[in-house]
């Protein structure tokens, strides 16, 4: 008997309206996340990785963006169709999110104690005292010493790494089943990044939480992801379990990306094999495979028909006509 996934995204489409035209940021993506697993989503600017996950919680600004199609199934509900109060019960409570810049969700004029206890009280109905005690326990859990005293501190009094921890504490306050992490360590020093990753992994094990981790750094995911989605120009081009992806990548973009990564543990020699060209214009969306202009394996069909995801090995899918 197959256990149904925690989250199921089907044919998600998200568009942004700009003065230059309509940007097809997310162009029909489908994937799932199982309970307790870590799904990595990797892509560069314009790949749609952030827009895709912001769509899960309907955090796309109504001024300029629209989720124009698809379904997102969580706990037998389509998140794109539930009403506002149902969505509020899910956000921050069952599905939580952390961002690259902690100041996105930290109010600079409120103490962090107030902000964490507020989140707890709103979602769990605890009293102020109970919420405070939980907040102290959470801060200690994320490695902030003298937690009780620090409840009275303001965000500006913390370093970047510590603000990130506070944001994580807030995100985990209600024991969500799914944590979406959108480039949470990109702006952090590499040693602080290592600390934050270890901490999230530990909390994940304790809480049985699933994590979607978005990054542009393919090297990062090798450490802790179970499965990886590679996105390019608003589409998923490859999906595979972590060992498979690094050892046997099948999409030319993934292959090119892996080859172009410099490594600290070996001499890379004379030239780093770089992928030529630049990502496509998402307004004038090209016909056929969006990666074709940069692809050394491209054939005629690639420029005419957009490839679909096809299975090439167990749990390993690739959207490519050539599949080198």
């Amino acid at each position: 008997m197959m256990i149904s996934p925690l989250l199921q995204v089907k044919n998600l489409e998200t568009r942004f309206i700009t003065t230059d035209g309509v940007v097809k940021a997310v162009n029909g993506i489908s994937y799932h996340v199982n309970a307790g697993e870590t799904l990595g989503i990797v892509g560069e600017s314009g790949s749609g990785k952030s827009a895709g996950v912001l769509s899960i919680l309907r955090l796309i600004s109504a001024n300029s963006g629209r989720i124009s199609g698809g379904e997102i199934w969580f706990e037998k509900q389509d998140l794109l169709k539930v009403n506002k109060s149902a969505l509020r019960r899910i956000r921050g409570n069952k599905i939580s999110m952390i961002f690259q810049d902690p100041m996105t969700c930290l109010n600079p004029v409120l103490t962090i104690g107030k902000q964490i206890t507020e989140a707890i009280q709103v979602h769990s109905g605890a009293t102020k005292l109970e919420a405070q005690q939980q907040a102290i326990a959470l801060l200690e859990k994320v490695g902030i010493s003298s937690a009780k005293r620090r409840l009275g501190s303001y965000p500006y009094q913390f370093s970047g790494g510590m603000r990130q921890r506070v944001m994580i504490a807030m995100a985990l306050a209600c024991h969500p089943q799914l944590l979406i992490a959108d480039e949470p360590t990109t702006a952090l020093d590499v040693t602080v990044q290592a600390q934050v990753i270890e901490m999230i992994k530990q909390l994940q094990n304790e809480m049985g939480m699933a994590v979607i981790w978005i990054t542009h750094d393919l090297a990062l995911l090798a450490r802790f992801a179970d499965r990886i989605l590679v996105m390019y120009a608003g589409q998923i081009v490859e999906e595979a379990p972590v060992n498979q992806l690094y050892k046997h990548p099948r999409h030319p973009y993934t292959m090119g990306l892996l080859k172009s990564l410099p490594r600290p543990d070996r001499d890379m020699g004379e030239t780093l094999p770089a992928i030529p060209g630049t990502p496509p214009d998402l307004i004038n969306y090209p016909q056929g495979c969006p990666f074709a202009p940069r692809c050394q394996y491209a054939i005629d069909r690639c420029f005419q028909e957009d490839p679909i995801l096809e299975l090439v090995a167990t749990h390993h899918q690739v959207a490519c006509w050539v599949k080198p």
Partner: protein, 343 residues
């Protein structure tokens, strides 16, 4: 190519020599009268040299002083102590006019390609400006030179009348490189030049910088926090922590045989794109964040976070270690490697 009109020194091996470089910032406090309450020793006695044609990388985390060092060398930030010898001339002793002439030989590329190009200037103005300032070209010859430079960095020379906003981050960085090379310098300070770029573009720009180095015999001081790219581009690397160099040596030596506990922790934190290797790696997780510069420092600056501090008794806490050569060309500043107490 533009003829060199500045005086060139005979081809000595060492292009840049930094001795005991210091950049200290006073911190004032007080309610009624601002008085000095402390000093931030951002760069605290750096000594190193860079040979002609090589790339020395300065690595370290936020606040270690690496960017300040780059600026202090170029005198964009006035050092509070020490000397900077460029072709054996001490830059810190030059007056404004002489410094301006010297500046032709040294240029800088910044991290943010969106902030470092004036959005109101065309490429012709941006890349042509240094040529005008140093009176190297004007009119027709200026246009030719700008187009030549655009080609050199892999951009279409027809773009000469376009504005920065019409280009992507990677292309803007190429424009910044073209501007830096306009005056035919010998030395380039590259302050995190690829950190803001997408991964697939980083490789392109780094390859460009390497090939330009070979073609034009450039010398680079590369400032970065990305240890993977640093290994690829550098001949030698210096690791900084809180204003001091804790380890310096040939790249392969430092990466394959790191000596300082901080270097080891730094390297263990760098992700490697291989899940099997990652699963087996030794992780050294440092506790806490980088301490404040303002705290009184005696003893080793890394003491509070060092996993090996207790091994040498009290010495780490009270005595500041000095840079010592342990292997040929490989120096480390750490009591664990003291000749009296070898590890």
């Amino acid at each position: 190519m533009v003829a060199k009109t500045h005086p060139s020194k005979p081809e000595t091996d060492t292009l840049l020599r930094v001795e005991n470089l210091q950049v200290h910032f006073p911190v004032s406090g007080g309610i009624f009268r601002q008085k000095q309450v402390g000093i931030i020793r951002a760069v605290d006695g750096l000594t190193f040299e860079i040979k002609r044609g090589e790339t020395l990388s300065l690595v370290g985390e936020s606040g270690c002083g690496k960017s300040t060092t780059g600026r202090a060398i170029l005198q964009l930030q006035t050092p509070t102590g020490g000397q900077v010898y460029f072709n054996d001339i001490d830059l810190t002793k030059l007056d404004a006019q002489k410094l301006r002439i010297m500046r032709r030989q040294m240029q800088i590329i910044f991290q943010d390609p969106y902030a470092s190009l004036n959005p109101r200037m065309t490429l012709k103005k941006i890349i042509g400006e240094p040529l005008l300032i140093h009176r190297l070209a004007k009119g027709e010859s200026l246009i030719n030179r700008v187009q030549e430079l655009l080609e050199l960095v892999g951009l279409n020379p027809q773009f000469i009348n376009r504005y920065p906003h019409e280009f992507s981050g990677g292309q803007r960085q190429r424009i910044a490189i073209a501007r830096a090379l306009a005056v035919d310098p010998d030395f380039l300070v590259c302050d995190e030049p690829i950190a803001s770029l997408d991964v697939s573009i980083q490789a392109q720009v780094v390859n460009l910088m390497r090939s330009l180095q070979k073609r034009l015999n450039l010398t680079y001081l590369f400032i970065a926090h990305d240890l993977s790219i640093v290994r690829y581009i550098s001949s030698r690397v210096a690791v900084m922590y809180l204003g001091k160099i804790v380890e310096i040596g040939e790249c392969n030596s430092v990466y394959d045989y790191p000596l300082h506990p901080y270097t080891k922790a730094l390297l263990s934190a760098v992700p490697i794109p291989d899940p099997e290797i990652e699963a087996k790696r030794e992780r050294i997780i440092l506790k806490g964040d980088v301490p404040s510069f303002l705290l009184p420092s005696c003893g080793c600056r890394f003491y509070s976070r060092c996993p090996s501090a207790k091994l040498v008794g009290d010495r780490c806490r009270v005595e500041e270690p000095q840079l010592r050569e342990i292997n040929p060309g490989h120096f480390v500043s750490c009591h664990l490697w003291d000749s009296q107490n070898p590890l």
